[in-house]
Structure formats: C-alpha cells, structure tokens
C-alpha cells in the first residue's frame, strides 16, 4: 500500500484544509470585471394573473441598467424537464411550459416576475420597490387531494387538470395484488405523510453569467452538482447556445443535497442577460430566496397496505401515493416518485406481489425534486413503518418478522423490475444487534423510567439503488439523458497525475478518495495525484454527482482510464527494459521484468513518454493520457439496518435521541473515514426530517416556515454520538471497484427508526398511538399522549 494511503486508508480529507482556512473558492467568490448585479422581484402571492407590470419608474432610477420581464423571454425556450414519465394508460405526462420569468401568471410564492439588473445589488433592490405590479389574485391549490378534484383551480390553464401523471407499476400486477390483499390472512394498512423539506445547503445558490464578444463564448459560473448537465439543458433547450460556445463552471460548492442538480431559471437569466447587456451579470440568493426558489424535497401522501399469510410471510404490497410536483416540473421531478421510489418498494423483503400507484400533482407551491435519497427515503419510510405496524398488530418481534421475510439469495429479481446483485441482510442485522447493544435495551428502559422518562427502541432496514444508472435502461424509463460518467487521466512527464472527472465534489471528499484509487493501482503516493472537476472546459462530459453515483460510475471510468495508462506504460517499460510487454509487472511504482531484478521506476517511464528519445515510436504514440467513459450495467444496492433509541419526556412531549446505530453494507470501501462522515451527515438529515424539519404552507400558498425562525434545522445537540459500522461488505458484482455508494444511506435509513422508536416509547407506556406523521415535534407527541393521535 502506498505510504500516504491507497484503497482502504482513512486518509484525512485534503480539501478540508482550504475549506477550514477560508481558502475555498465558491461561486460567490468569483467576480468578473465590469459585472452588474441582478435582483429578482418574486411573487408574494401563490397564484395570480399578471394584468400589468409598469417598470418605467424603476428604469429611471440611479444605477439601474435594465428591467427584464417575462415578455423579454417569449422567444426563449422553456426550462426543461429531464425525465418524461409515461402513465398507466400509456400516455405521456402533462408537461407545462416553465418560463424563465413568469409570463401571464405567477404560480407560486417566489416565482420570479421581474429581473432588475443594476450597478449594485442595493440599486436593484431599490428599483424593485418602484415596480408597479398589477396582480389579480386567483384561488390557490395547495392540498394535493383537493388539487386533483374536478373543478379545482388549475395551476396551468393549458393542461387538462393538475394531474401530471397517474403511474402504475407494475400495471400488469394490479389485479393479482388486489386479489392477494383481498384474500390475505392479515392486512396492515397505514396512511402517512412524508413531510416537505427544504435542503438548506450552507451555501445559497449563486450564478454569474459572462459573455466574451471576441470569441462569442458564454461562461456560466454556478453552484451546481453537474455542470455538464446544466450546459446540456440550458444550451440545448433554453437558450440555443451550441455546446462549444458555452462553458459551465461549478467551483467549490458548499453542499448540494440534490437541490443543486437542477437547472434553474436564474442560471438561464444571467447567461442570457450577459450577452444582451454585454456585461457580466451576477446573482447571489439570499437565504429567504433559497426557501422560496430552491427545489424542495419529499412531500408525499401515501396509503400502504401489506398483506401477510397465517405464518406472517409477506404476500402482497399495495401503495397509493400523491406526489407533489409544485408549480412547475423541476429537472428530475417526475422520476423521483416513480423510478426512484416504486422500484424500491420490495425493500429487503421477498414480497412476491407489489403494485405501486403514484399520482403526481401540480400545486401552487415551490417545485419539488430530488433531495438526499430522492424517492428511496419515501419508499423506505412507508415500507419500514408498515412492517413495524404489522409486527405490533400481530404481536410479533419486529426483528424476527423482518428476518423471516428477508431476501437471502442473490442475485434476486424483485417484482418491481430491478435485480439486486448482492447483499446480506441478516449480516447487517446481526451487526446492528451487536453495535446497538440491543440486549441492553430493557435495562436502559428501566433506567429511563426511574428518571420519569419513556424510552423506546425503533429499528428498520433499508435498501437503495445507487450508482445511477444504466443509460439504456433509464432511456426506456423516460430519461432524456444518459447516465454514464467519464474520466481523463493525464500523466505528466514527471509522473504526477491530473484526473479530470465528470463527477462533482461538494462535500463528498472526491479530491481525497479518487486519488487513493489511482495511487493504489499504480503504487505511487496519492499526493502525486490531483482531481480536477467542475468545469466543462477542463473535464470530459460526465453527468455529475447525485444518487450516490460518483465512485461507482465515475470512479469506474477512472479505473478504466488508469488501466489504459498502465497498459501503455507497461509497453514503454518493456521497451526500456528490453523485455516483452507481457512479462512486465507493476508494483509499488516500479515496473519489473517478472522473475528478474530488472526494473524501471514509474517516473522514468512517464518521462520517456514525453521525452521519447528511446521509445517504441513505431508501435505507440508518445504521451500518457487516456479517457474512459463508463456506463453501469445495473444499479448498485447498498443496504443496512439501523436502530434508534429515544427518550420521551412525558410532561412536554420532547423527544431526545439517546443512541443511534447504523450497520451498512456499502460493498468495498475506499476511505472508511469519509464513509463514516457521509453516514453521519445523512443521519443528521434523516433525524432532522423525523423530529424537526417541515416546510409548511397555509391554504393560500404562503410558506409558514420560510426562515430559520420557523424551519428547524438539526443542530449538533439534536443528534447523538453515532455508532456506525460498515464492516459487512458484499461487493458490487458489476463495477470494477466493487463499490455501492454511501452518500444517501443515512438520510434514507434513519427516519423510520426514529419514528418507530418514539411510537415504541408511547405504546410501551400505554398510549395507543398507531402512527404519527413527521416531524415528531414536542407538541405533536404531547398531543398524541394527551388527546390521542
């Protein structure tokens, strides 16, 4: 192993040095000479007809360059949706136009109406107050079930209704599932809400547009998880800019959690306006703007029914979900409640018959799209809640019920279209039992009771689909892009290496973990290797980072490119050593002729590649640079088992998390410290969803929790010291590293165990509370104890 860490080493994150010393370079740190500033005047009404916009006073004000309205964008494309879902009748989803600036109507609080470009932010904001808007308020639709009723006000007048699609999966199973549930020995039914969340990355969104008249090239600096995707969507669909004339740069990004995947109107605006005005244009979101313009997450209403036979085997599962799309279709919104949700409904269990129905609904709310886990947390939550409820109803041990129904043979083809390659759910449950010290729970419960507190234990399993995704498969499912990734390995003459990747790091530690892989393959120090990401002009066409895909997909491309490098370098070494190619072995940075002491160092070979004085020029080209694209053969399927112990204060309803244990199977692991950190972060977000976070709307479409005064983010003292373990490893069978992905697991796996634990505490104390919707705030828990759920 290289001395500063190859595969498996817990190398400290090299990028943290610049982040923690204030030397990160974020989009807001980018200032282009001569830049102007834009402020967006946003609707404070959820649904209104725009009768008039008078910008004449604003345009006369000092420092104002120009005020844009929706009329300026009539010839510009619609903000595109990247995924088309086909409904259960074979019809394409309803897909409304999404203008850069609202035109004709405003459809949610935060919908941008005017863009004021000025010499300073303050001048732009002053001018915004001088704009005279004539808005005619219309009835808003906020509640999804109301929105799909006949006669409900329509968010988009050109659509037939507010129903985006009515999706059935697997439609051919529908009748069989209905029959199985009708004839079941026992059916457990649960209706629940998966609460709407706001991602709240520490860095709000920022975009800077620049246009260079000398070469007619656009540059967009933006807070994105996937600059190539933004270039593709904005260039091809919105602004009609050819890709070779559009560069998208996403430098250091201060957290994404999904909400920075999507192409946003503000990006298109600054790119458009920079050319129109011949001035760079910069926008930096305020936190308030983030609440009303970043795509939100979750927001499902679900009814789930689990059928069991007399021996407690799961025989069928049926779900009906209303999924909020918000006012417009964000980039990947239609895929989240369908292909990232329905396909996971088997979970860890061999339920033979499954039918999933999803109704996606337009409402006068901020668009909803992927947020850490994206569809998989929603699937896991309902499934692991209904299994727990079934165990309680049947009076059986929830662990035993799960174990009895575990899938144990792999590969396993689920009834919901996916095939799990590997896994060992009993192994992670065994590990959980150990690290959570489940056998000590009763003693801890007694100790809590002695202090007047109610203690509860909740568990759940999870499975997720990561390494998104096989392009041919997602193409059939409606994706309008491929989901491969790419890497270029550029070896310099002195042997150091730059790896240009299509993935993007915004907290995941790629700059540390990716070099560990290349260092391990070649046998040189990881410090000799740098990762370049986040710039379409410097990196090969990759699809970015989300869905825990970076290492499984982009890392695999990097491995393939490195293999090409090693093969070529062996040929050069063979020439230098006057041996045949196949006799050359590479270890610890030395090329050796097998069975001899003849060797040449990595640096001598790389130098020869660029100074080819003694070089097989007739057989191979000089230089040492290779690119590979990798398209995965399947999803990867991380899995695990989580346990949460809570105390409930019966006097106040306050829940505190006393212990939390997570046993995950991520396949092979490159850097266990980074993996632990990813799990910790995911757990904090999952606990946040379960106990604290909620984006609440009133019936008029006003956001009630639009600032940190009312939107409760988890803080350090809201979460416990975690016990995490990832020693259970069933390597992925179809990617070269055997990795599965770890970025979302914590957020997917934790909410059900928190809720199960609170319900256990309440029920054990004699309160009959079958379910509570998240977040489990003190007041909600107190109400459940005192007024019934």
């Amino acid at each position: 192993m290289p001395k500063d860490g190859g595969i498996g080493a817990a190398t400290p994150r090299r990028e943290d040095v610049r982040f923690l010393t204030g030397n990160g370079k974020y989009t807001d740190d980018i200032n282009v000479r001569g830049q102007a500033y834009v402020h967006f005047l946003r609707s404070d009404i959820a649904h209104a007809k725009i009768n008039g916009i008078d910008t004449s006073e604003a345009e006369k004000m000092d420092g104002v360059i120009r005020v844009f309205t929706g009329a300026d964008f009539e010839a510009v494309g619609s903000i595109p949706c990247g995924w088309q879902v086909t409904d259960r009748h074979g019809e394409a989803m309803q897909e409304p136009r999404h203008p850069v600036l609202a035109h004709g109507k405003v459809r949610h609080v935060g919908d941008p109406i005017c863009a004021i470009v000025a010499e300073t932010y303050e001048a732009a904001r002053d001018a915004a107050e001088a704009i005279d808007l004539d808005l005619e308020e219309l009835p808003a639709v906020v509640d999804m079930k109301e929105a799909v009723k006949d006669g409900a006000p329509k968010v988009h007048d050109e659509l037939t209704s507010n129903l985006c699609y009515d999706w059935g999966f697997v439609e051919d199973n529908r009748a069989a599932v209905d029959e199985a549930i009708k004839n079941a020995h026992h059916v457990t039914t649960l209706e629940l809400v998966n609460n709407r969340l706001v991602a709240n990355p520490m860095e709000p969104r920022v975009a800077v547009g620049d246009y260079d008249r000398s070469d007619e090239e656009h540059t967009l600096y933006t807070t994105s998880q996937n600059p190539h995707v933004i270039r593709l969507l904005m260039g091809a669909f919105v602004l009609g800019i050819p890709e070779h004339k559009l560069r998208v740069v996403a430098p250091d990004v201060g957290g994404g959690f999904g909400t920075k995947i999507f192409h946003y109107a503000e990006e298109a605006f600054v790119t458009f306006a920079a050319k129109e005005l011949n001035r760079p244009v910069k926008w930096t979101a305020s936190r308030s703007e983030a609440f009303m313009s970043d795509a939100h997450g979750r927001d499902h209403i679900t009814k789930i029914e689990l059928a069991l036979d007399k021996d407690n085997n799961f025989t069928a599962l049926r779900t009906e979900t209303y999924a909020n799309m918000g006012a417009y279709l964000s980039t990947f919104a239609p895929s989240v409640p369908t292909w990232l949700h329905g396909t996971l409904m088997a979970g860890n269990y061999k339920t033979p018959l499954i039918y999933v129905n999803v109704k996606a609904v337009f409402t006068n709310t901020v668009p909803v799209d992927a947020y850490r886990g994206a569809g998989r947390p929603e699937a896991t939550f309902q499934l692991e809640r209904v299994v727990d409820k079934a165990a309680r109803e049947l009076g059986v041990d929830p662990i035993a019920l799960r174990r009895q129904n575990f899938i144990t043979e792999f590969p396993y083809a689920t009834p919901v279209a996916v095939e799990y390659d590997t896994g060992d759910y009993n192994a992670t449950m065994d590990k959980l039992t150990e690290i959570a010290d489940l056998s000590g729970f009763e003693a801890r419960r007694k100790e809590s009771e002695a202090r007047g507190k109610l203690r509860g234990l909740g568990l759940n399993c999870y499975i997720e689909a990561c390494g998104i995704a096989p392009s041919n498969l997602v193409g059939q499912l409606g994706a309008r892009a491929g989901l491969y990734d790419a890497a270029t390995v550029r070896v310099n003459a002195t042997g150091s290496i730059s790896v240009m990747v299509g993935a993007h790091s915004h907290g995941q530690g790629h700059e540390t973990a990716f070099p560990q892989v290349v260092a391990d393959m070649i046998g040189i120090d990881a410090s000799q290797i740098d990762i370049v990401h986040g710039d379409t002009a410097r990196t090969p066409f990759g699809m970015g980072t989300y869905g825990s895909r970076s290492l499984a997909v982009c890392g695999s491309a990097m491995v393939k490119a490195t293999e090409k490098i090693i093969n070529k370098a062996k040929k050069i070494a063979a020439h230098l050593l006057e041996a045949s190619d196949e006799d050359i072995e590479l270890a610890d940075g030395q090329f050796t002729v097998a069975g001899t002491d003849k060797s040449v160092a990595w640096g001598d070979v790389t130098l020869a590649a660029y100074v080819p004085h003694n070089y097989p020029l007739e057989d191979i080209e000089p230089g040492l640079e290779e690119t590979a694209f990798y398209d995965p053969a399947n999803f990867t399927y991380p899995s695990g088992a989580y346990a949460c112990e809570v105390e409930v204060d019966p006097d106040t309803g306050k829940v505190t998390i006393e212990r939390f244990a997570a046993a995950d199977d991520f396949g092979n692991i490159i850097n266990p410290m980074i993996v632990s950190g990813q799990v910790h972060g995911g757990l904090a977000q999952g606990i946040g969803q379960a106990l604290l976070e909620n984006c609440a709307y009133d019936e008029d479409g006003q956001i009630l929790s639009a600032s940190y005064m009312d939107y409760a983010m988890p803080r350090a003292d809201d979460v416990p010291f975690y016990s995490v373990d990832h020693s259970c490893q069933t390597p992925c069978t179809h990617n070269p590293l055997g990795v599965k992905g770890c970025g979302e697991a914590g957020a997917i796996g934790s909410p059900p165990s928190v809720v199960n634990a609170v319900l256990d505490a309440l029920n054990a104390a004699g309160h009959d509370v079958p379910h509570l919707d998240m977040p489990l705030t003190p007041s909600k828990v107190w109400d459940a104890m005192n007024k019934g759920a």
Partner: protein, 261 residues
C-alpha cells in the same frame, strides 16, 4: 437594507439628543439588523448606544441590587452577574454565542419580544428599568407584545435587579428559533414569590399570580397541584397549540421551583 446614517454618541446626553429627531436607537442589533437587512424598517438614522461607557457593566447598588448598564451584553451579564446566579445563568442561555456577544439587556427589554428571556427575568425579579428620564417598575414597564412604557427616544440606561433568596429560569425552546416556546422565571423574595412567563401569551410576558400565591405559602412544585393556566389568549402556531403552551407554563413553573437555588 436601505441606506442610513449612523451616529455614535459617547454619552447618554448626546445619545438622547441624537434620538430626539427621526432616529432609531441601536443596541446590539440582534433584532434590528436582521430587520433592516430584510428591508422591514427604514430608520434613516441609527444611533448606536454601544460606545457609551456609562451604560456598560455590572455592579452592586448600596441597597444590594445587581445593577446592569443598559448597553451590557448578555455574555458580560453571564460572566459578571455572579451576585445573582439565576440571572447570570439565564443570560448564558440567550440565543447563541454571537447573539450573547452583541445583544444587550437594554436592547432586549426595549424590544420586548414576546418570546425573549430577559422580560421574564426582569418581571419576576421586580426589577427597575432606569432610563435617561425616569425609573419604571417592571410591573408598569411591559405593556404587551413589543410594547413598553418607553417614550419615543427614551433610552434604557440601567436595569436594577433585587437579588432573591432563590430563583430559576426554565426555557422550553421553540425548535427552530430556540427562543422560548414557553419560559418561566420564578424568584422567591422574603416578601413573596414572583412568577413571570414569556413565550406563551399573545399579550407578551405576564405574571402567573395564582402560582405566586400558592408558592408564597409553600415554595414547592407540589404547591402547583390543582392549578392550571387557561389557554385563552395563549399563542398557537406551527410549534405548539395554545393548549400545549398553557400546559407547558405549569410544567416549566414546577421545574423552575424545583431547580431554584
């Protein structure tokens, strides 16, 4: 924020003069600055009180009161009001470190946020609010949510707290803002017990007089048995119903009594 002028007087007299026109006093700015940033206020002129040395610091009066300058930060009170431990403890849990290092007692009491901690401490302690013009008893000072007895331009220069035999403040935090969802300050003096409640009522901080009477005759949590607080007029919002807040008033009062030292 809108453009504004700022004045930085160094004496109370100069500050009062600066505030006699159209101007807004600026204490630590922990409420006012976010308000300005959101363009919810356009004061024209701000008069910063933080440069006035005679409004700084903690001392004891001859009558044994803890006297705190109106411009004294929460962090200073937490560190220096050792003669009144419950008050120092209360100050040490206001907001977060940034708030405690900037926010001032005068600013907090002048703002009278219905969920702030200091109004409960001042009311339960029967404190005296000293201004550049007069002395106001706490019982006369708090007049409802964000409303006080202060006149336009009047400056809180000092707050005097009689030191109780025992006292304690129990804050049940609102999960997002961590202001008091319900906060109860109990102070036991030789002549009786005072109980002040913040966070709960639509009328702002108030005294729970039934509890005061019960606790004056028997200073123990059991003395509250049988008492209850009406939910009428209690705040109901995302974070808790009026019923819940009314319930918490009693729970927090009991805990404050038990913890009082």
């Amino acid at each position: 924020m809108y453009a504004f002028d700022i004045e930085r007087p160094t004496t109370i007299a100069d500050a009062a003069k600066a505030l006699s026109g159209e101007a807004q006093a600026l204490g630590g700015g922990q409420t006012l600055i976010p308000t300005l940033k959101a363009r919810l206020a356009d004061p024209g002129t701000l008069v910063s009180l933080s440069g006035i040395s005679e409004m700084q610091g903690v001392c004891m009066s001859d009558a044994g009161e803890v006297c705190i300058g109106g411009g004294t930060t929460h962090a200073t009170v937490a560190a220096e009001a050792t003669a009144y431990p419950a008050l120092a403890e209360t100050a040490s849990h206001i907001g977060d470190p940034a708030v405690r290092n900037r926010g001032t007692i005068g600013g907090s009491l002048a703002n009278n946020d219905p969920s702030a901690c200091y109004p409960a401490a001042a009311l339960a302690s029967g404190a005296t609010i000293i201004t550049n013009a007069r002395e106001i008893a706490a019982d006369d000072y708090f007049q409802g949510m964000f409303t006080t007895a202060l006149d336009e331009g009047e400056i809180i220069t000092e707050v005097r707290f009689p030191v109780p035999e025992k006292a304690n403040y129990q804050k049940f935090v609102q999960p997002a803002s961590r202001f008091a969802l319900v906060g109860v300050y109990v102070a036991k003096y030789a002549d009786g017990v005072r109980v002040a409640v913040t966070g709960a009522s639509e009328e702002g901080v108030f005294r729970w007089t039934e509890a005061e009477a019960a606790l004056t005759s028997n200073f123990s949590a059991e003395a509250l048995d049988g008492l209850s607080v009406s939910a009428d007029g209690m705040i109901g919002d995302l974070h808790g119903s009026a019923d819940y807040r009314a319930h918490l008033v009693k729970v927090m009062t009991g805990r404050a009594v038990s913890a009082a030292a």
